[in-house]
């Protein structure tokens, strides 16, 4: 008992310090989260389904009241988009749960740690700040390597604009370098690079996901997601090599789909090249995913079907 006061004092001394830091919060605020960049897909209505353009048998022969296949394309592409975002941002999630290992006035470092799933590698996360600009890198090196041995698997930047994760940023995965360093990213081995550029400081927000293939296995693919006031969403992407109409050429399509939170939507399909280059197809659907309006620029006799007024107002996404 006579040692109790000393014991209490030691416990209290051991409890001194902590992680109460405004700078830590500003650094963490520079890291994007999934909900900031992921596409908010339309609600899945009752009886809705979609096959996508690739499963379309009869090109753009669409009847009013049928289930919109472009709506299905939108959802499918949105899920793929979000999977790409997840692939990038999952690497950052663990950082949020750990206090920095090293704090300097404009620098934070987590680690180095032994890379949990990559024996023989160390990993660290480094963030630097200059005014409101932040850079960050997820770096690996072979265990025992010196300072020069670090290389960045993930790199990112963020220009803060106050608010919670509001600003302009980018990040990318250097898959090719990872392969070269003997650290294969098995889920991404068809890619050379996966990148995101985004702005979240003002509506409509914008997120562009770029897949750069290895050895030209497929064209560079860009998916752009935008979100406007009222949770209106827009996805824009290219669909190369689609056989849209009978003829000798395949069509490269530019597809822009927009949707409202209740499931209503609109798609605009521009033919960039192919048999009907310059053609434009517009389709609207209701909350159940049924087509309510179509417009075909190349159809002289029946350019439109249904009422254009059934299309939702997406003017907040214009411009």
């Amino acid at each position: 008992m006579r040692h109790l006061p000393v014991l209490c004092l030691c416990l209290a001394l051991a409890a001194c310090g902590g992680d109460f830091s405004n700078d830590d919060l500003e650094f963490l605020n520079a890291l994007p989260r999934r909900e900031d960049l992921a596409a908010k897909l339309p609600q899945k209505g009752q009886g809705r389904s979609g096959g996508g353009l690739t499963t379309r048998a009869a090109g753009l022969v669409v009847r009013l009241g049928e289930t919109s296949e472009l709506m299905g394309d939108t959802e499918e592409t949105g899920r793929a988009f979000n999977a790409g975002v997840d692939a990038l941002l999952s690497l950052l999630e663990d950082i949020r749960s750990l206090p920095p290992t090293t704090r300097e006035p404009d620098r934070r470092e987590w680690g180095p740690y032994r890379a949990p799933n990559h024996p023989g590698f160390d990993v660290r996360f480094v963030m630097t700040r200059e005014a409101s600009s932040f850079d960050y890198r997820l770096e690996y090196r072979r265990t025992g390597g010196g300072e020069a041995g670090w290389w960045a698997f993930l790199s990112g930047t963020f220009e803060a604009d106050a608010g919670i994760r509001k600003g302009v940023g980018s990040l990318h995965l250097d898959v090719e370098r990872s392969e070269q360093e003997g650290l294969p990213a098995s889920d991404l081995r068809t890619l050379r690079r996966l990148g995101i550029q985004y702005q979240t400081k003002a509506l409509p927000t914008r997120v562009e996901l770029t897949f750069t293939p290895r050895d030209g296995a497929f064209p560079v693919s860009r998916y752009t997601y935008r979100e406007a006031q009222g949770s209106l969403g827009e996805m824009h992407f290219l669909l190369p090599g689609q056989d849209l109409v009978p003829g000798g050429l395949l069509e490269d399509l530019s597809l822009t789909t927009r949707w409202a939170p209740d499931g209503r939507g609109m798609a605009v399909l521009d033919v960039v090249s192919g048999d009907i280059r310059g053609a434009k197809y517009t389709e609207c659907w209701d909350a159940q995913g049924r087509v309510t309006f179509t417009a075909r620029s190349w159809d002289f006799f029946n350019p439109t079907e249904g009422e254009r007024s059934t299309c939702p107002d997406f003017s907040a996404l214009d411009g």
């Binding site: 209290a12 310090g17 109460f20 919060l25 949020r96 749960s97 803060a160």
Partner: protein, 533 residues
């Protein structure tokens, strides 16, 4: 001064007194009252010397005919200050004499004395020097009362007695001149303090006597010799059974002319308390809200007595063989209160209102427990806006009084507070969070009691724990803990006997070392309500 044997002087003095009368009004009175708990090397600090001095200083002004401008109170000051104050009073007395006034110089000292000298802290004032100084003082009457160990050495060379030498007379005489020295103990005795009385035995009985208990003649005036003989008898009686042995006050006089000196005039105060003749005889104790006996009264049956209590509420106790009679009386300014026996109630001895007599008194130390409320805020604006927020706090506290030393208070406290806020930083604004602060501290303060009010000053060490929990899971909850030294000042008020109200301010230093090494400071304002079990 005089070659007469002491017995002869006593006889001559008695004759003088028989033909003399006390006359308070004709004298211009000056008073130097000093109390010093410290006696320097080789002595243990006293607990109540300053309190004794405060009581005497207040009493002389209220009842002793000493104008506030003519009274000096020295607390824990050294010999140089003592002599300087004495010189100032001497000058004023000289000026008064030159104007034709009769003057009296009253010097009271409570504190240490050793090896033939008063010990005022680390400084000394030899008895012989003081006596010579008083003998030469330009005043008609000089009265020195020394409440200190072995102070009887001051009177040993002349006229020392171990018993009152005078019968109390109330004759008609005037013009006494000379020097009187009263001491609390003989040259080979210690003067003793009492926790129950919160003062020395001698000074307590002297002041109690001056309040009226010593007025055996019943004329409403307490003379020097009434007061002395009362203090003598009560001091010897109270200390007879003590481990240090009985303590015998002494006196020395060198008076000429006619006259006893009235020290207090109970009629000077239009208030006070009257114990009517019909009240039962016995010893009455008058207890203040702090549980201390401020006056006693030894009353005979069918004799009306008066006690010049200061305005306030007192508990009255009369002890019977098998029980107590207890009641409460309020003395109002300008009104004479009358003690009604019918308002006293029987009570067991365990309900004795005298603090020192309670079993929980613990030799004078006492506890309080209480609840506190306050606000904490950092001096640095960016810190209090975005890091450690200004926050209201509630807490609990326990205090131990008079344990380590008289008027020292050791306390332990815990407090907590929280509030909601929105974070606003240069590159991040908007996250909502709850900020919470908890502190556990210990404080050591020194109090300076002034009646029911006691200002205090001290030091505190606290362990602080701050936390903020964000509503957005993207931001981690954060904590910080650190020891923090500080100072505290305030005032404690004692409106009821067991209830204390305290207002206080604290200033603390805090080392923040997460983002960078930063020295921060914060203040706290608070109020505390404590109860003395």
């Amino acid at each position: 001064m005089s070659a007469l044997p002491s017995l002869a002087r006593a006889v001559s003095m008695a004759l003088v007194l028989m033909a003399s009368s006390a006359d308070a009004e004709a004298l211009r009175r000056f008073a130097l009252v000093a109390g010093n708990d410290e006696g320097g090397a080789g002595t243990r600090p006293l607990r109540f010397a300053r309190d004794d001095a405060r009581k005497m200083h207040a009493l002389l002004q209220r009842l002793g005919g000493v104008a506030p401008a003519d009274a000096k109170l020295l607390l824990n000051e050294d010999a140089r200050d003592f002599l300087a104050a004495l010189s100032e009073l001497e000058q004023r007395a000289r000026a008064a004499r030159e104007r034709g006034e009769r003057t009296a110089l009253f010097v009271y000292y409570s504190g240490h004395a050793k090896d033939g000298a008063l010990r005022l802290g680390e400084t000394r004032l030899a008895f012989d020097d003081l006596k010579r100084r008083l003998a030469d003082a330009p005043s008609d009457i000089r009265i020195a009362i020394l409440d200190s160990c072995r102070s009887g050495a001051m009177t040993r060379t002349k006229g020392a007695r171990r018993a009152p030498a005078f019968d109390i007379e109330s004759g008609a005489g005037r013009d006494a001149r000379g020097l009187v020295i009263l001491t609390s103990s003989a040259a080979d005795e210690d003067s003793q303090e009492s926790d129950a009385l919160a003062g020395s035995y001698f000074s307590h009985h002297l002041t109690s006597g001056l309040l009226g208990d010593a007025d055996r003649s019943g004329d409403g005036r307490v003379t020097l010799f009434e007061a002395y003989s009362h203090a003598y008898a009560r001091t010897v009686a109270d200390t007879a059974a003590s481990t240090a042995g009985p303590q015998h006050p002494t006196f020395s006089y060198d008076l000429a002319g006619n006259g006893d000196l009235v020290l207090t005039d109970l009629r000077a105060s239009s208030g006070g308390l009257v114990v009517p003749g019909a009240a039962p005889g016995g010893t009455y104790y008058f207890v203040d809200p702090g549980g201390l006996v401020v006056a006693e009264l030894d009353k005979a049956a069918d004799v009306e007595r008066r006690v010049a209590l200061a305005p306030g509420t007192y508990r009255v106790k009369r002890r019977l063989p098998d029980r107590l009679r207890i009641g409460e009386v309020e003395v109002r300014r300008g009104q004479q209160a009358v003690l009604q026996e019918s308002r006293l109630q029987d009570a067991p001895f365990s309900d004795d209102p005298v603090k020192g007599a309670l079993p929980s008194g613990g030799g004078g130390a006492w506890w309080t427990v209480g609840l506190s409320g306050g606000v904490q805020s950092y001096f640095d604006a960016p810190t209090r806006d975005a890091l450690f927020l200004s926050v209201g706090m509630v807490g609990a506290e326990a205090q131990l009084h008079d344990y380590f030393r008289r008027d020292w208070v050791w306390g332990v406290d815990a407090a907590t507070g929280s509030r909601r806020a929105v974070l606003m930083l240069p590159s991040l604004s908007g996250p909502a969070y709850r900020y919470a602060m908890t502190s556990v501290g210990t404080t050591l303060t020194s109090e300076w009691p002034l009646g029911r009010v006691a200002p205090f000053l001290g030091a505190r060490v606290a362990w602080l724990h701050m936390r903020r929990d964000f509503e957005d899971a993207a931001f981690p909850d954060q904590t910080f803990a650190m020891f923090s030294p500080g100072v505290v000042a305030g005032v404690r008020w004692n409106p009821l006997s067991r209830l204390h109200l305290t207002a206080r301010a604290r200033a603390h230093y805090l080392l923040y070392n997460v983002d960078a090494q930063r020295s921060l400071g914060f203040w706290e304002l608070g109020a505390l309500v404590t109860y003395q079990p």
